[in-house]
Symmetry: C2
Subunit: 590 residues, 2 copies
């Protein structure tokens, strides 16, 4: 320990948001170099190597073959698939000395497709699964929580190449089972949920989410077994309602009704319902956004959704990708005086009836998409496009038309599962793995075809599969740490055991040293804490660093005893010195 390159810190890092970040930094596992860019110190690198080894074993077990691509990649293949621009600001781009365009690879679909195209040409060559464990780059807008969401990180990415759909299903299922083994071995509490494919494209995908309050993802589950990332939940379109009995739309005065609550109150006063009180769910809220495409092109969008729901930013992000959505600015509003802030609605009421304001054929010309709950015949309270005025009984399809549907409203606990399997509950999680059925998107864009049995050229079908390897180190830390620091499971700990020399007598030093030698000879990774500091500091550091086992060699040595401590359980057990090595080997191996 006196020679190990580690110094524990008493201060939390300034930007510590997650326990893993806090403890991995304070215990000397990682060190920040730039936002989202970290160095691995000796302790951290040892854990990383163990996680890598587990991932490698399980990938090899399904017949995947390891390769390694560069991180520095030429633009052309990414241009061919559209990802050079679709990735937007998330892609690190650079030029070489000759002005050639390069990128730092965020994932390698294009490169693997080209490699297989380069070397393979026949159905006899397939299937093949290739993988790499390699450094990836994404210029995240919000790098956070240390290595949990970095801009340079280590991923296992693999790619399957099959002749047909049945082959792709088999490769996908093999990965699914391998991932289950990996995440079981890492000790995670995780769920497999339906996911959005995002910039990756492709038909079907699932995420492996580790349940964690530190997560940025939210997923839903139903009692009947439905599980999906909120991004991927598809709310069923509302059934059409017969609006023949609904009165004509009319204006009510709603001064100061700037919030949904105050609007509901105003309705209660100005136009009370006979059947029940008004609720937020009766109101139609219209949110104006600006979309910016990766090319820089800007287009406004108005989203109409029930007033009791907010737009979910992650669902919105997924729905509009690769464009980015930002709030409508003051200048944008100034360019659209027909939009009266706080009173925006799809129409204004003229003598002859409602006149379209929103929608591509409305006076604003603004694209107007509505929540699936805004079904044909449904009646709404919404803005009248005049200050202090709302409309009541504005009926979808009768009084206004949207340009389409957008499913980006927040999902709430108790909402029905789309497949009818019961009410949803919401949980936060961290995405640890993602498996995609890419289909033929990349193979088509890059011309990966092979000859089939009949000598015809057919396009190969692909899958792509990722595991966040550096993120897994953080998540194991996150899941196992406590208020004293890290507490590694024995399979992933940087060292098996620390021997704490808790006294200055020569007999203690000798006993500690020979125990260390004995354990090393037995093949264990041992640290001897020989530092000239107090036993208290050593105990605190051994808990902070999270050695699964410690052996205290101190005063009780006079009685021939040492103490064996288990970090995770806190259990302490005196043991005769002569038996200590055997007990520890058994605890590590057992």
């Amino acid at each position: 320990m006196s020679e190990l390159f580690v110094r524990t810190l008493r201060q939390d890092p300034a930007d510590a948001e997650a326990s893993s970040h806090r403890w991995l930094t304070r215990a000397g596992y990682i060190r920040r170099v730039a936002p989202g860019v970290y160095s691995w110190l000796p302790l951290g690198l040892r854990v990383l190597a163990k996680v890598e080894a587990i991932v490698r074993q399980e990938m090899e077990a399904i017949g995947a073959q390891e390769v390694r691509f560069p991180a520095l990649l030429p633009r052309e293949p990414y241009e061919a698939t559209g990802r050079w621009s679709d990735y937007g600001a998330n892609l690190f781009r650079l030029q070489d000395r000759r002005g050639g365009d390069y990128l730092l690879g965020p994932t390698h679909e294009e490169m693997f497709t080209l490699l297989v195209k380069d070397l393979y040409s026949s159905y006899k060559d397939l299937p093949v699964i290739l993988f790499q464990i390699q450094t990836k780059y994404r210029d995240e807008a919000r790098p956070r929580a240390g290595i949990l969401r970095g801009r340079e990180f280590i991923m296992k990415d693999s790619y399957s190449f099959d002749l047909d759909e049945a082959g792709l299903q088999a490769s996908y299922e093999a990965h699914r089972q391998a991932y289950i083994k990996v995440f079981d071995r890492l000790g995670f509490e995780y769920v497999v949920v339906q996911a959005m494919s995002g910039a990756m494209g492709g038909s079907a995908s699932e995420e492996f989410l580790v349940v964690s309050e530190a997560g940025e993802d939210t997923f839903v589950r139903s009692p009947g077994g439905y599980a999906a990332n909120v991004e991927a939940v598809q709310v069923a379109p509302a059934e059409p309602v017969d609006a023949s009995g609904t009165p004509a739309a009319r204006v009510i005065l709603t001064p100061g009704a700037g919030t949904i609550d105050s609007l509901v109150e105003a309705c209660q006063r100005a136009a009370p319902r006979s059947d029940r009180p008004w609720t937020g769910a009766d109101t139609l809220k219209n949110v104006v956004l600006m979309l910016t495409a990766p090319t820089g092109e800007r287009q406004p969008l108005v989203i109409g959704l029930p007033g009791d729901r907010e737009v979910d930013l992650k669902r919105l992000e997924a729905a509009v990708a690769p464009a980015e959505a930002t709030p409508f600015g003051e200048e944008d509003f100034a360019a659209h005086p027909e939009l009266v802030k706080g009173y925006i609605g799809p129409v204004r009421l003229a003598e002859a009836g409602p006149v379209a304001v929103l929608g591509e054929r409305g006076s604003s010309g603004l694209r107007y998409l509505v929540d699936p709950r805004v079904g044909p015949g449904s009646a709404w309270v919404t803005g009248a496009n005049q200050a202090d005025r709302h409309l009541v009984d504005l009926v979808a399809g009768r009084d206004f038309q949207a340009d389409g549907v957008i499913d980006v409203a927040e999902i709430k606990p108790g909402d029905p599962a789309p497949d009818g399997s019961g009410p949803l509950s919401l949980t936060r999680g961290v995405e640890m793995g993602h498996i995609f059925q890419l289909g033929r998107k990349y193979a088509e864009a890059l011309g990966l075809k092979v000859l089939d049995r009949d000598g015809r050229l057919v396009t190969v079908t692909m899958g792509s599969y990722g595991i966040g390897v550096s993120r897994a180190v953080a998540m194991v830390a996150e899941a196992t740490c406590d208020e004293r620091g890290l507490a590694w499971p024995k399979e992933l700990a940087p060292y098996d055991v620390v021997i704490v020399l808790a006294g200055k007598e020569e007999s203690m030093r000798q006993a500690a040293q020979s125990l260390a030698d004995e354990l090393s000879a037995a093949g264990l990774d041992v640290v001897l804490d020989d530092r000239p500091v107090s036993p208290g500091v050593k105990f605190a550091d051994s808990e902070l660093i999270g050695f699964p086992l410690s052996v205290v060699v101190g005063r009780s040595l006079a009685d021939g005893l040492v103490e064996i401590r288990q970090r995770a359980s806190g259990q302490r057990q005196p043991a005769p010195l002569a038996e200590a090595a055997g007990l520890i080997v058994e605890a590590v191996r057992g």
Copy 2:
């Protein structure tokens, strides 16, 4: 083999300059992605992992501790040491989404210095040696020969931190010995030579060069043990000569004497010597260059050197770094009409005697540096700065003054070693390792100080040490290949043995399969070549891929025999099937 992701190619890569590049590509070890940027295929990655393991073992054996830095690094530390600009166009630079400046690390001196500064503060913490095996980036002007000189490559870089000079010497020597072990284990024929420190700075450095015609480096050796990279050879300044008997400089007519040979002939005719014929070594050639600093600032330079020697471009590059030298252009000459091409000299002759043309006080104002052989009192034939005219008996120090000395002339076989240890011979080599005594350059620039025993802050002294890990794979290939392909030493081969199934009979298939199983069970890495191709194709591929051993299971199986072939020696040996496994295990382990 039917499942292994490898396809051997019949065509050489278009840009194959080195055998290693040719064979590693054709045998399916590496694949080009962009100039100087390669992917590792499964066979290549296995060899790379073995080289990495050897390097890691020897670094750990000297107590070095492994860490891993990011490749994506912020500008500031490199700005502090000057390398952000000194590296010039060799550095890949990029900006993140917020406009922050980043680079892709070419080496990590700055980052290691800051890490130790971050965690260490006392003399008690030292010495420490840290290393990483990590991906590096250099935007080489001339990437070449596959992975021999790439733009993305894998390096082992280590850094030592010591309190004083004696500590640095010990860390340096430990590395020197570790490198000897590494290069011995890799089987290289190599030399350790004095080297230039280049952009790295620092006081002393040595290179480990592997003798190879594919090398871009040239090194010299003397019978007495002197060894240096030509870049690092320091030619002794010429002893002063008594010029009191040398006649005054005079003009001779030399029409058409555009080359040194024709000039010597012209001298022979116009001003024959009484003692001996003129030689090229009597002439003073003046080479005009333009230097461009990393900042873009341009400054001309004239180099005067004996006419029988050329300027050595690598010695020049090393001498003027970080500036780059290019030939003087037509426009540059037009701006200096006093320079008459083919007749340039340090002076022109006026009635009162020689008048300076070159040198900062000459009429051209051009900086003028001369070879160390142009010593005080030496007499020269050189240009007269007039068409068709040269000067004879122009004496250094008497008739012209240089602004200084520059030691960039080519070294020739037979030149004396600077230390008097005999005539030099020249050999080409590839730089595989470089060890530097950096001293305090980086620690001073970045403020790495620790408290010494007396409580005073002292600046730490550092060393930095590199091994080209991916390059080592190429060099092992280069050193061991023959006209049929690769021939790996058994310690580095991707697989220990290939079993060539050379026939279609079921008995052969069964024998081959059980031999493969038996060898795998014994812990060997085995490939079974079960492809439906001819034995000839299999033999050719096994030689191209370079399996150290092959076992042919073919017709002789009827007599209970297989054939064991050794790739490197070409030796073939029949063996009873029952004994084959034992013989192979012995050959691999022995």
